[in-house]
């Protein structure tokens, strides 16, 4: 997308105006500062996805669009999760973080803040694996994606 004020709201506005669903959305500038890249996760029948694709392409701020589900691709999401970890629980949480290849990035006497990266499923699994009563706060970045191999989204 053009890295311009208003580009994001055009996309968000299109989805709400036409009744499409945004499951997650991430956006940030790219190495070319005139462009920003958005990864948007949505759902719908093939017809709906086709309409969404066409309508997005009509937006003048959308420079190029790629449906990741049409090609082999990698998805990642990052999560920061703050978990109560006191006394005996500390070891348990630490072990769990290791299993999920997360890293503990902040520690207090009673709290671990853990960074976990992976597919959305993996993050869900981590959240479920932690004792629910110990979860203080969860923040997730939303999904970003990139195609495998030679295929690339560039202007």
């Amino acid at each position: 997308m053009e890295n311009e004020a208003g580009a994001l709201s055009r996309v968000a506005g299109l989805f709400s105006a036409r009744g499409y669903n945004i499951e997650s959305l991430t956006v940030a500038p790219t190495e070319d500062e005139s462009l920003s890249r958005m990864t948007l996760v949505t759902s719908g029948t093939a017809d709906v996805i086709e309409q969404i694709t066409k309508q997005l392409n009509k937006l003048i701020d959308v420079v190029k669009l790629m449906d990741m589900y049409e090609c082999a691709h990698i998805e990642r999401e990052m999560m920061l999760i703050k978990v109560r970890a006191a006394n005996g629980g500390r070891e348990e949480v630490k072990r769990l973080a290791e299993i999920f290849r997360g890293s503990i990035i902040d520690v207090t006497n009673t709290i671990f803040t853990i960074e976990v990266t992976g597919t959305s499923d993996k993050l869900d699994a981590f959240v479920n694996a932690v004792d629910q009563a110990d979860i203080i706060e969860v923040v997730r970045s939303g999904v970003t994606g990139i195609a495998r191999g030679e295929k690339a989204l560039h202007v």
Partner: protein, 564 residues
Amino acid sequence: MELTGADIFARCLAEEGVEYVFGYPGGAVLPIYDALYQQDKVKHILVRHEQAATHAADGYARATGRPGVVLVTSGPGATNAVTGIATAYMDSIPMVAFTGQVPTAMIGNDAFQEVDNVGITRPCVKHNFMVKDVNDLAETIRKAFYVATTGRPGPVVVDIPKDITVHKAEYKYPKRVNMRSYNPVTKGHPRQIKKAIDLMLTAKRPMLYTGGGVVLSNGSRALIDITRLLGYPITNTLMGLGAYPATDRQFLGMLGMHGTYEANMAMHNCDVLIAIGARFDDRVVGNVEKFCPTAKIVHIDIDPASISKTVKVDVPIVGPVDQVLKEMLKVLKESKATPDAAALKAWWEQIEEWRAMDCLKYEQDSETIKPQYVVESLYNVTKGKAFVTSDVGQHQMFAAQFYKFDKPNRWINSGGLGTMGFGFPAAMGVQLAHPKETVACITGEGSIQMCIQEMSTCRQYGLPLKIINLNNGCLGMVRQWQEFFYQGRYAMSYMESLPDFVKLAESYGHVGMQITKPEDVEPALQEAMKMKDRLVFMDFLTDSKENVYPMVPAGAGQNEMILV
């Protein structure tokens, strides 16, 4: 040369060949008005309400094919313009609307007459811009005209903060703009065109269904040529009327909710449907499940998003209608193939049976004026040559059914958004574009009151419109639906205390007439048309119980019409 933003603005408009700007001044645009005051290339038309400015610009655009230009101030000026911008958006009308804005430093402070114009108009424009640097002004204006007029046309809003109009910059008007993310299609794909022709020639019961896209792309000539060459029946949507001559035998009338029996039946029973510059609107399609059950569909449209949006099509062609039709004609003429003459003959026999139903028949007695009769009389008196605008409601449908347009750009109405109040100001734009032509606004006592203040504008600029007010004392279409679907509970569809339209017209300095008897209809119209330099407000008291037939109720199939 260094110029102020306001001077740059005026120069850019002149550079774009803008004849008229329709607008209304206010604080945020005072520098622009000051610049316009000091030049004579671009004329400004002062309306009485910003909504009218947008409709007038819209009417101008529809009648000429050139973009309509609007200038309004910030805040309420901009919000008043929104209805007209949305109207243009729904009908894909090229328009550039300039809105004033508070100075950049005050944006977001809830300043006096501040509103987020870009945010408010975003869902009803093709694109919009806010100019944040006077050095970008000329290029942004160039882009706005480029986007508004190319591809599928539409309105573009340019929001200009007041300080930008005062700051100075080097003036240079870019001849060309490059937008990497905007590349409208200029040609239909040859293989798709070939596929479409192959399918069209296999048809036993073909049908052409064409819309506003034909008018917008200047495709009328090519459409006439290809329709005559093939000998297929043709129907036009409300927006497409005039693109094919209505008096031609191959024309089956308008289709859709208030379309003719023959057009809707031919749609329902065809085996190959050729949709051209039409978007399968719900007022045309009715129930999608029941739409053209036996047809393979070809669809030509400039907008890929219109293809298979509501109705799945078999052969899509994305491209400008005019270019695609010309290419089709070429391919058709080069190939030796011809339509199946025997099948076509049988198909026409069937169609003639449907046509013999004479579904638009009405009876004019000697007592009460039928609205249909007024429109037919207007058609006769103007010899079918007037530019006709309409508002929204029963009168709009009667106008579409009974005024037979033989040329495009002459039937001007708000089809998509259905904006009451559109017709009268739109007619002002049409009259300015064609000062010598007869411009009639067919309206009703409900719609006309939504922009009636423009009588003052017409007086100021000497616009000799002919207002045909089909006054049945009620909101006819609302009343009709209440009669059909709400057991005759006429909630708020009857207006009390209507003004004396004759006196009202006179108070604005125009001619007013009231016509109450059927026998006076034609003579009154004759008399009004003779007053070439006067606006004549003709108040026809018409039958309040008259309904628009045929009618396909919402959600029904095209073959399920209420006929009387």
